[in-house]
């Protein structure tokens, strides 16, 4: 465990080198909130409540989902693994005395922790600037469950991206696939529009998949909605985590033997 903590610390410190990237990422939290403010502001001009949401509720939803999607930085895992396999430099991760998947989990949490420190105050600042009766649950237990769900969700996304990354052992060029995945994930995690607005049959199906619980449900819980789904969310996420832990273990052991370390 100490070795992984060391990786987290190193990655945390490394982010200081990329101060500008951090500043821009933090700044771009704003554009998502601005999108919600302009679009939903026009929609709520005509009605006070739409599909159970008021305007402050909707803005709060976008502030939370924007915050969660900004600190969810696992996209880099698949990109880095695929890039290094293509270039023949993945050997670096094979020779370090750590479990490869564990290393990437620690690496991503290190970077996330750094961004968390900066994005949190900016998010709070936006709450203050908008001054629109910000909505947040008053239940301490719901907040605790949400934090746990967010952690499980982040862990799942790292595992998913790790799995996609190691597919490059077999398919080499997967960047197009990763970009399409990024578009799709933005939609099914509810970052573009609350999933509540989609047809109910589709939402029922999505409840069986982990993406529902990565950004959407935590954001809904934080604005005081869907509390009855919290426990189910933890169970579904845990099951998917277990599945992907096994899947990644077998996939890595099976695929790494076809890696030649030369690159293309």
């Amino acid at each position: 465990m100490r070795k992984y903590l060391e990786v987290i610390k190193i990655l945390f410190k490394t982010q200081i080198t990329y101060r500008f990237d951090v500043a821009m990422t933090v700044l771009f939290t704003f554009t998502r909130i601005l999108f919600a403010y302009v679009l939903w502001g026009a929609i709520f001009d005509q009605r006070e409540v739409i599909n159970g949401f008021t305007f402050p509720m909707m803005l709060s939803y976008y502030i939370f989902s924007s915050f969660l999607s900004q600190i969810e930085m696992s996209d880099g895992v698949s990109g880095e693994i695929a890039g290094r396999i293509q270039a023949g430099t993945f050997s670096k991760y094979m020779i370090i005395p750590l479990n490869t998947q564990g290393y990437f989990i620690a690496q991503t949490f290190g970077a996330m922790a750094f961004y968390f420190i900066f994005i949190l105050p900016v998010t709070i600042l936006w709450m203050a600037v908008l001054q629109l009766g910000f909505t947040i649950t008053g239940s301490f237990s719901v907040i605790l469950v949400t934090i746990l769900m967010v952690l499980l969700g982040l862990l799942f996304m790292i595992q998913l991206n790790y799995f996609l990354g190691i597919l490059a052992f077999k398919f080499q060029e997967i960047s197009i696939f990763l970009m399409i995945k990024g578009n799709l994930v933005a939609f099914i995690t509810g970052t573009l529009v609350p999933l509540h607005f989609l047809p109910q049959d589709l939402v029922s199906v999505l409840r069986f998949f982990p993406f529902y619980y990565v950004t959407y449900l935590p954001s809904m819980l934080l604005i005081g909605k869907n509390e009855e789904e919290a426990f189910t969310g933890l169970v579904v996420l845990s099951v998917w985590l277990a599945v992907f832990t096994l899947l990644n273990h077998f996939a890595y052991n099976k695929l790494r033997v076809i890696y030649d370390g030369v690159g293309i």
């Binding site: 302009v38 005509q46 197009i176 970009m179 578009n183 529009v193």
Partner: protein
């Protein structure tokens, strides 16, 4: 002019032969951007299942807006995007020398040397989205309106190009313009999803006249749906003209500041 067209055709042939080496990536751009616009279409479908209009725009108008931005993006990706994005690197590592010493306008060559025919399917997808949006409207669109729409698509594609060149000319004067490029992405990302008619006050001034991404798809959509004023037509033509003149002037000024490999 004839010589330039022959030159562009040669660049296209060379690019096609290079692209055939990586056949799997050929339609990559179309697949990525096509999936993005289809998901945005779903997003607006979901919103319009609850409301009749957004800022006075009905579902048909918004879908035409999305299709129009998708079309502009497709034109950008097909013809000049992959050439223009390389400018900052060429300035930084002195590679621009090779372009300046050739007997061809350097900007013309950079613009068209990386055309991407793999994005052409995106043009057809966009036309499909626009047609779907138009079918939802209870109006008859005349041939003259379609011609005016096509004219505005062409000039807005020029405006799109102008904005890309302006942003990528800045590295002539500073070491890195990464922040400006990210600002461009953020502005585009916002204006691709939010029709310009929804902006008010400072945001309207910003996205109509300073970073005019807000008018690119909005004005052609307003033309096709008969919801534009004569003033707005005139203003948008003026904006394109001013930005085009500025782009050429700024590029030439940048070239004067170019210090080869030491830039």
């Amino acid at each position: 002019m004839k010589r330039n067209i022959r030159f562009i055709a040669t660049l296209l042939k060379m690019k096609l032969s290079r692209m055939m080496v990586y056949r799997l990536s050929f339609f990559g751009g179309s697949l990525v951007d096509g999936s993005m616009f289809l998901l945005w279409l779903l997003m607006f479908q979901a919103i319009y299942s609850q409301v009749d209009s957004i800022g006075g725009w009905n579902k048909g108008q918004t879908i035409i807006f999305l299709g129009t931005f998708s079309l502009l993006n497709a034109i950008n990706m097909t013809f000049y995007f992959f050439g223009v994005i390389g400018i900052p690197n060429k300035i930084r590592n002195g590679e621009l020398d090779h372009y300046l010493t050739k007997p061809v306008n350097p900007l013309l060559r950079i613009t068209f040397e990386n055309m991407n025919p793999g994005s052409i399917p995106l043009i057809f997808l966009s036309i499909g989205i626009i047609s779907y949006g138009a079918s939802l409207l209870d109006i008859t669109i005349h041939a003259a309106t379609i011609l005016l729409y096509v004219f505005f698509i062409v000039i807005m594609a020029i405006l799109y190009y102008d904005m890309e060149i302006i942003v990528r000319t800045i590295p002539f004067f500073v070491i890195s313009a990464t922040s400006i490029e990210r600002l461009e992405i953020a502005g585009l990302d916002l204006c691709m999803r939010v029709p310009g008619v929804l902006f008010r006050g400072v945001l309207k001034v910003l996205f109509y006249f300073v970073l005019p991404y807000g008018i690119m798809a909005t004005v052609p959509t307003q033309i096709l749906t008969y919801s534009i004023s004569g003033d707005m037509i005139f203003i948008s033509i003026l904006v394109v003209f001013v930005f085009s003149v500025f782009t050429l002037w700024f590029w030439k000024l940048g070239l004067k500041h170019y210090k080869s490999a030491s830039s």
